[in-house]
């Protein structure tokens, strides 16, 4: 039961697609330097991934692996069109800034490969719950990255000037994105190991008290 729950809800902390799986990291590194970009990417990623995986789940499972992968990618590329048209209404400035990373979200490995390796092995309801938590996991990382990088690179939050004494301009550059994400991955792993240590300790204490 516990592992089943972990499988469903793990996308946020235990098995985060960015910090643990290192999937979809290019947009986080390059475009995750402001909150506005982060919000535009969150909208696009969430909409494209959810719809594409949902539609792809109706693709016959008997097809050869290669054919299925191509069909998933094509479905995702088709879903991208209405999502982008809607984004032009809501985030016109960010679309320009995000540039080529917007279409790249549509061919992310969560849609193309994880669908086959993970999601389609689950029941439909479980798949949807797990998918939503994976998306929330990406959204949380993107939001945190956008917030912190904007704060320390530009001294603003959502384009509003904030009183920050130390500005690190390099955080807005790609190399800043690499280093920031690397440090975030390290901190995430550290927290995860602390939690799993606590869990083990609790379990061993419980088993001792059971005896």
């Amino acid at each position: 039961m516990n592992s089943h729950r972990k499988n469903l809800l793990g996308g946020v902390l235990h098995d985060n697609i960015v910090l643990s799986g290192l999937m979809v990291i290019s947009p986080v590194i390059i475009c995750g330097d402001t909150l506005r970009n982060a919000l535009a990417l969150i909208y696009a990623f969430s909409a494209i991934t959810f719809l594409a995986v949902l539609i792809s789940s109706f693709v016959p499972k008997k097809l050869p692996y290669t054919a299925k992968i191509i069909i998933y990618a094509l479905i995702s590329a088709a879903v991208y069109i209405p999502v982008k048209l809607a984004a032009e209404e809501f985030y016109p400035d960010s679309i320009e800034r995000i540039g080529i990373y917007y279409p790249l979200l549509a061919v992310n490995s969560l849609i193309v490969f994880q669908t086959e390796a993970k999601f389609f092995k689950m029941k439909k309801l479980d798949m949807m719950i797990s998918l939503i938590f994976c998306i929330i996991g990406f959204d949380a990382v993107m939001l945190l990255t956008g917030f912190l990088r904007e704060l320390f690179a530009y001294g603003t939050i959502n384009s509003k000037i904030v009183d920050v004494n130390t500005l690190i301009n390099g955080l807005s550059e790609p190399f800043g994105g690499f280093i920031f994400l690397g440090l975030m991955c390290g901190v995430y792993r550290f927290i995860r190991s602390l939690i799993s240590k606590n869990d083990k300790q609790l379990r061993s204490e419980a088993s001792v008290s059971d005896k």
Partner: protein, 190 residues
């Protein structure tokens, strides 16, 4: 001197170090020499042939339908994916077993798709680059850039995965920080 200039240009235009395209794939490639050679060869094939096909699409696609570009690019990569798998299958069973995984990993990733979109963007900004030769050479350069970045990562792969690195930072986090430092050096070349 020309060689050094070319190397500096290749590094400065490197899609991984300057645009973070294909970072996850490079971590797979840097794991062993066999993976590095296999993945780099297949990615270079995809970017080079894909760029030629992308030129045809860009030339034929009216600007009013530019939102369909991703769909067509996906289609050509899909066709290339099948063709490569078929070619390797007929080349021999052992080749197929060896190269199949590299083709699967390389087909739909940011390194390949990002290269096609980057070339298209450059050509849209500078019309002199809108030529088949320019597209193909840019695609090939992107593949070479991937190899260079993978070699740089391979050089430090063992140390970044060694027990001397704190366990929380061992592996991917250390490699990301390392790539960041290399990217910073490349940034200064621009």
């Amino acid at each position: 001197m020309f060689l050094i200039n070319d190397l500096i240009t290749l590094l400065a235009a490197n899609l991984i170090l300057s645009q973070a395209l294909g970072t996850s794939t490079i971590f797979i490639a840097a794991g062993s020499r066999k993976n590095l050679v296999g993945t780099a060869c297949v990615i270079t094939l995809f970017t080079t042939i894909g760029s030629a096909a992308a030129y045809c699409i860009d030339a034929a696609l009216p600007s009013a339908l530019s939102d369909l570009r991703l769909l067509f690019y996906t289609l050509i990569i899909g066709i290339l994916y099948v063709l490569l798998l078929t070619a390797v299958y007929f080349a021999g069973r052992s080749y197929f077993e060896d190269f199949r995984k590299y083709i699967h990993v390389s087909a739909f990733n940011c390194a390949v798709m990002g290269t096609l979109f980057t070339i298209n963007k450059r050509a849209a900004m500078d019309s002199s680059l809108f030529e088949l030769g320019e597209y193909v050479s840019a695609g090939f350069e992107a593949g070479i850039g991937f190899i260079i970045a993978a070699l740089i990562l391979t050089a430090a792969y063992r140390k970044l995965n060694s027990s001397k690195v704190p366990s929380a930072f061992r592996g991917f986090p250390a490699m990301l920080v390392y790539l960041g430092i290399i990217s910073m050096a490349v940034y200064s070349l621009k």
